[in-house]
Symmetry: C2
Subunit: 337 residues, 2 copies
Amino acid sequence: MGGDRAPQIVIDGADIIAQSNPDVHFSLFGDENKIIPIIQNCHNLKDRYTIFNTEEFISADEKPSIALRRYTKSSMRLAIDSVKDKQCDVVVSAGNTGALMAIAKVVLRPLESIDRPAIVTSIPNQKNQATVLLDMGANIDCDGDVLYQFAVMGHAFARVVLKIDNPKIGLLNVGSEELKGHEELKIAASYIKESHLKDDFYGYVEGDDIMKGTVDVVVTDGFTGNITLKTIEGSVKMIASLFKEAFTDSIFSKIGYLFCGPSITKKTRSVDPRMHNGAMLVGLNGVVVKSHGSTDRIGFANAIKVAISLLDNNINEKIIEELSIKPKKPSLEEFKE
Amino acid sequence: MGGDRAPQIVIDGADIIAQSNPDVHFSLFGDENKIIPIIQNCHNLKDRYTIFNTEEFISADEKPSIALRRYTKSSMRLAIDSVKDKQCDVVVSAGNTGALMAIAKVVLRPLESIDRPAIVTSIPNQKNQATVLLDMGANIDCDGDVLYQFAVMGHAFARVVLKIDNPKIGLLNVGSEELKGHEELKIAASYIKESHLKDDFYGYVEGDDIMKGTVDVVVTDGFTGNITLKTIEGSVKMIASLFKEAFTDSIFSKIGYLFCGPSITKKTRSVDPRMHNGAMLVGLNGVVVKSHGSTDRIGFANAIKVAISLLDNNINEKIIEELSIKPKKPSLEEFKE
């Protein structure tokens, strides 16, 4: 029931996935009065879904703490409960991100040796690949230990989802020598250098390295990560709108667009946010995938695809395995000049 | 002597400004053996410049602390000294940002009641206007007091440079209710609400609000600001390169570009980084403007234009005036829930 056009795009997205994934069964949590009229037109889903009826749902602007305490029969809560109870393997939601993380943390619990689950996503880069970025906003203040755990989880995510054998890891920082960022970044860097990730550690990266694709995994705290992601979204939208204005600016530009439109569609497909929809709430006992609230059925289908890929590749088992290789903790003197 | 193509673009930029500003005299600090051959071709500058010869210069990767201590005869140092000694009214440099700030702070000293000078710039937004953004990287850790001072300086900058009477101020933060960012942001918000800026305070803004133009001034610490600015640069470059690829993708798209090229040039001119070149080191006893190191003569000329506008409008007097209106310091309880 979450997102701007639920449950329509959720059900339509499931229908798309149902076609190419004959083994998947869909549990739909929400108001059956709204679900049934839509699902009757979804032929791929026929006999492959179960509706768990509830009229309670969490609105987009509900406070996570209230969502957690008050809405124990909400569609989101029941869906997460079903993963805990092993009724479902994974939950995909386009709803309130803060509420989703808060409920998932309490119901599913963090993985052992993970202090703070994070939100991880991947965004297109200039190398026609994707850059994994975490944390996207679950944890505002992060110490070196937490950032190190993010590096481990991001590394595993890049291997599983992007199929990169040795993903390079960068810590997001500022450029100038003298201003080399917060102490916790230095601590995180020293942990990574002491760990099994050391050969895949690139070092510090800057804001423009995300889109350049300098590294495969960019690690940052949730404050910077959230602002960075939204800044990218804002920049892409702005440039796209300028080009759109240009193509409708005159009769000449309209004619021009007739000729170059197909190439533009082809080349900019990689930055279509729908194709990168589906952020994982990583570090939990269970797989939870968050879809953008404003996506359409194509985008939601992609989020389901991400969820299936995470399951098929045993993402959590891989993270647990990597986390069990504990790095030697460097002494404080090592990173203080 | 600073920047990728110095002193060529610096002198060429000055020549452009000389043409439209007959009252400006240019003091050029650097290697006369390199300056003289270039300046002989600059007819607008004829009889309107003085060369201060020095062979010492600060490289782009020099540490600010070393630049400050060791290079006391560098072109950058002598230029800043000349502002201190009232030989010049303003200094414009395309050199090492960290060194420029370090030297300017020691030589010119911060304005009274400014704890930390900042780097302020303006970037184009979707409303065909510009958003003022600070700090761009001079101060990594900022408390509420410092962020409040940034708001005052950014507000004055927007009024002077962008000619906005009542510029709206936003504090850069993350979206989710529960995760409402660092404590210092709450403190800064409460200071602003108690100050003469209260009617111009919009509240918290998110990353995408920068390009949307939701507010005129976006205030953030130097860590987030630097990463945000570089993320925007990276995003714009990536999208631009995708469109460039599309326009050369086939014979059809090449033909199309012939028709829509002029409209595209017109519409995207506003995001040309050269047109927004010139960041002020704000909060110092003296006006210092930083040009992007990789700009060309058009961009450098724009940085000089910014410098002249700051002087003509008595930016520092206005900031001092605004700072003298001290807000009532709210009690700690007020911003703790």
